[in-house]
């Protein structure tokens, strides 16, 4: 019995962490967030480490790893508020394209970093009155909101019945939609009789891709929240008031202890959710819903508390803590809010219609 990371997994996480610590200091995150440097600068480096092809079979030039491996990578990316299209282009799109079959060429291009595939899942996950589209005879017309990745080459678009289509970015009118999270981009896609290639009519393909995405968002929040906790403790050990380190005040210590108490069990939960996607088909759906929902509640508590421990500095742009705060906030809203996910968890167990 072994509930934990293997030696290979620990090495993988160490090497990504080392790379990001060296190549992605906060100044670099800032430059990308404010648009001075394109996010492709980081993605290029991550491509050399094999990140876009993590889940892509070796036959298509990928690394062929599992979901738990991907989850620990996602945790590291969250820890370092890493900009780029990991969630869409390294997780959700490859999972769907691989399961659907017949997309070997595109998978190879994702793995070698030459193409980025964004996703537009709004119609299937939470349709809005101000968006929507129709697909007929291989042509798509209408609009998607909050598609992930404003710099993708193609978009994997899900309709209300969870059918999946590929649409080339070159065929759509794309407008960047600013959100609080400046480390990852979202956009509006307007389709005007654009070419839409059917990828899958199998709802299970959509569901597995979505579950994988949600599990990775939970892992990303685990990493981001861990970083905020570490930063709060470090700050409290430097900052003095009333001739004392503020870390010696029980009010501050108890805030930090509460963050640990909430966050530490999340690590095991994320591992188990990753393992369930790999090995436990009966549990994976429930795990994906509960893990994302729970991590977002804990993430929100940690994000708020860590900012408070930093006092006024936490509220400033100087310290840059807000990049983590907003990253966690984005993970909460995108692809299903906690309330929605808990209702889905109830449905999966037959507790709700």
């Amino acid at each position: 019995m072994e509930f934990g990371l293997s030696e290979e997994q620990t090495l993988l996480q160490d090497s990504i962490n080392r790379y990001l610590s060296e190549e992605l200091p906060l100044d670099q995150v800032r430059k990308i967030a404010t648009g001075d440097v394109p996010d492709s600068s980081v993605w290029q480096g991550l491509t050399e480490l094999g990140i876009p092809g993590l889940l892509i079979p070796e036959a298509q030039g990928g690394v062929g790893l599992g979901y738990l491996d991907a989850a620990i990578v996602s945790e590291s990316l969250g820890y370092h508020v890493t900009p780029g299209p990991f969630l869409a282009s390294a997780i959700i799109a490859p999972v769907a394209l691989n399961l659907a079959g017949g997309q070997e060429a595109l998978l190879s291009s994702i793995a070698d970093g030459s193409r980025r595939v964004g996703i537009a899942f709004g119609e299937a996950v939470g349709a809005r009155a101000d968006a929507g589209f129709t697909v007929a005879d291989g042509k798509i017309s209408g609009k998607s909101l909050f598609a992930l990745d404003s710099n993708a080459d193609d978009y994997l678009v899900a309709d209300a019945d969870c059918n999946l289509y590929l649409v080339s970015a070159a065929d759509v009118k794309r407008t960047n939609l600013s959100t609080v999270d400046m480390t990852r981009s979202t956009c509006e896609l307007v389709y005007d009789n654009a070419e839409a290639t059917l990828v899958s009519r199998d709802v299970n393909v959509f569901i597995e891709a979505l579950d994988a995405g949600r599990t990775m968002q939970a892992a990303d929040t685990l990493g981001a929240a861990q970083s905020m906790l570490d930063q709060a403790v470090a700050y409290s050990m430097q900052r003095e008031q009333f001739d004392r380190l503020i870390a010696s005040f029980q009010a501050v210590k108890h805030m930090c202890a509460d963050m640990v108490a909430n966050l530490e069990p999340c690590r095991a939960m994320v591992w188990y959710a990753g393992h369930a996607l790999d090995e436990l088909p009966d549990e994976k759906r429930l795990m994906a819903c509960h893990t994302k929902a729970h991590l977002q509640e804990v993430g929100q508590q940690v994000a708020k508390t860590s900012t408070e421990v930093h006092g006024g500095m936490g509220f400033t742009d100087l310290v840059g803590l807000h990049y983590w705060f907003k990253r966690i906030g984005a993970n909460r809203q995108l692809l299903g809010s906690p309330e929605m996910l808990r209702e889905e968890a109830a449905r999966i167990q037959g507790f709700a219609a």
């Binding site: 202890a257 108490a261 069990p265 507790f351």
Partner: protein, 396 residues
């Protein structure tokens, strides 16, 4: 990640399952600690290696090698069948491990065998009216007079003192030493002249614990565990043992299942409770938290077996999180039942024998007891995160 226990252990699981099947009707009906059939059941479990497996043969145990996985399998199989897992008083769970670790050979011979079979019942004399969270400030005195300790003072929150045969007790023997270095750990009989036990009724209306008063209680000099002044180290080892066991995730999971059952069976205004979206939302929120604690527990189990990951923080948070979670879980069951949720005692409409209100209050007691959750937060921040202690402030 490998969640299987392997072939050898699955065979062991089959054996345990067979035992459970064969003995389902032989387990004691009453949970009373002192009943004859409870003692007989305890002996049967020890003989078969299903409780206290590792206690050496010479002290009445089976002398099995420590095997965390076997212990886990036993707990799982007995839990699944809701079988009586044997006695677990403070003498068994706390004193016995400490005697094995720090007792003299004579003490082990004298106390362990009768304690583990349930013939010798113990209570724990630690807290005092003036020494709660700051236990080391305790002031019950023991002075040596010839070959006897003479004890004067008072203990409080002493569970089971009204029925215990013996007490293991912290007393101050070196008043001149610094507070952690002046304490000794004594063992003595509860029928010694000078001991008065007054029951203390708690908010569940149960006399779960007592006040114990000592007036010139005379105890043979050799009834000390460890040396004079080393009682604090002995006590700390025991407290470490207690905290991990206060909020087991398995129990939370089984209470969650019972709550889910209630929400499917009970209706209000003709609507099943599970069909009320607000109650369902609260249930799902609690379920997510129970799951996190269960996987945390699996991780801790794995770390104990394989000794290859640092789980210091994961272990430290169990008491704090687990007790708060149980208190909320029991409270949700009360909330969803509305007026019925108030039922207690002999109310004919009471559900599940009144356990929901009882546990709701009991877990508030555990949030306070065993080191308050505020003390837990100090421990997590100081020993877990390396944050400094709060400077002392004196009473003016």
């Amino acid at each position: 990640m490998d969640l299987s226990f392997g072939q050898e252990y699955e065979e062991f699981r089959a054996e345990v399952r067979q035992f459970v099947e064969d003995n389902r009707d032989k387990q004691p009906k009453a949970r009373d600690y002192r009943s004859e059939d409870a003692v007989a059941w305890q002996k049967k479990l020890i003989e078969n290696g299903y409780t206290l497996r590792t206690i050496p043969k010479e002290y009445g145990g089976l002398g099995a090698e420590p095997d965390i996985i076997k212990s886990r399998i036993i707990a799982e199989e007995f839990g699944r069948a809701q079988m009586h897992t044997g006695l677990a008083g403070q003498g068994i769970s706390m004193l016995t491990p400490i005697l094995l670790e720090m007792g003299t050979e004579e003490q082990r011979q004298e106390f362990i065998r009768p304690t583990i079979v349930g013939e010798m019942d113990w209570c724990q004399g630690y807290s005092e009216p003036g020494s709660g969270s700051d236990l080391a400030s305790l002031s019950t005195r023991a002075e040596l007079d010839g070959d006897e300790w003479v004890i004067n003072g008072q203990k409080i929150w002493t569970s089971g003192a009204h029925r215990a045969d013996w007490i293991f007790c912290l007393v101050r023997t070196e008043p001149e030493a610094r507070k952690h270095h002046g304490i000794s750990f004594l063992l003595f009989k509860m029928d010694t002249p000078g001991i008065e036990v007054r029951p203390l009724v708690d908010m569940t209306m149960t006399p779960n614990f007592n006040e114990v008063f000592f007036t010139d209680v005379r105890v043979p000099k050799h009834q000390i565990v460890g040396k004079r002044g080393e009682g604090w180290q002995v006590a700390n080892a025991l407290l470490g043992f207690e905290r991990g066991s206060l909020a087991p995730p398995d129990a939370a999971q089984s209470r969650l299942n019972a709550l889910i059952k209630i929400m499917h069976q009970e209706t209000i205004n003709g609507e099943r409770l599970i069909d009320n979206p607000l109650f369902r939302e609260r249930l799902m929120k609690i379920q997510g938290r129970v799951m996190a604690m269960s996987y945390n527990d699996m991780r801790l189990l794995s770390a104990r077996i394989n000794k290859n990951q640092d789980t210091k923080l994961a272990a430290m948070v169990v008491k704090l999180q687990g007790t708060e979670l149980r208190h909320e879980l029991e409270g949700l069951a009360i909330d969803v039942m509305g007026e019925i949720g108030l039922s207690f005692g002999d109310n004919p409409y009471v559900r599940d024998a009144g356990t929901w209100q009882f546990q709701y209050m009991y877990y508030l007691g555990l949030i306070i007891g065993g080191g308050t959750n505020q003390i837990q937060r100090n421990i997590i921040s100081e020993r877990g995160l390396g944050m400094p202690r709060e400077p002392r402030a004196k009473v003016k």
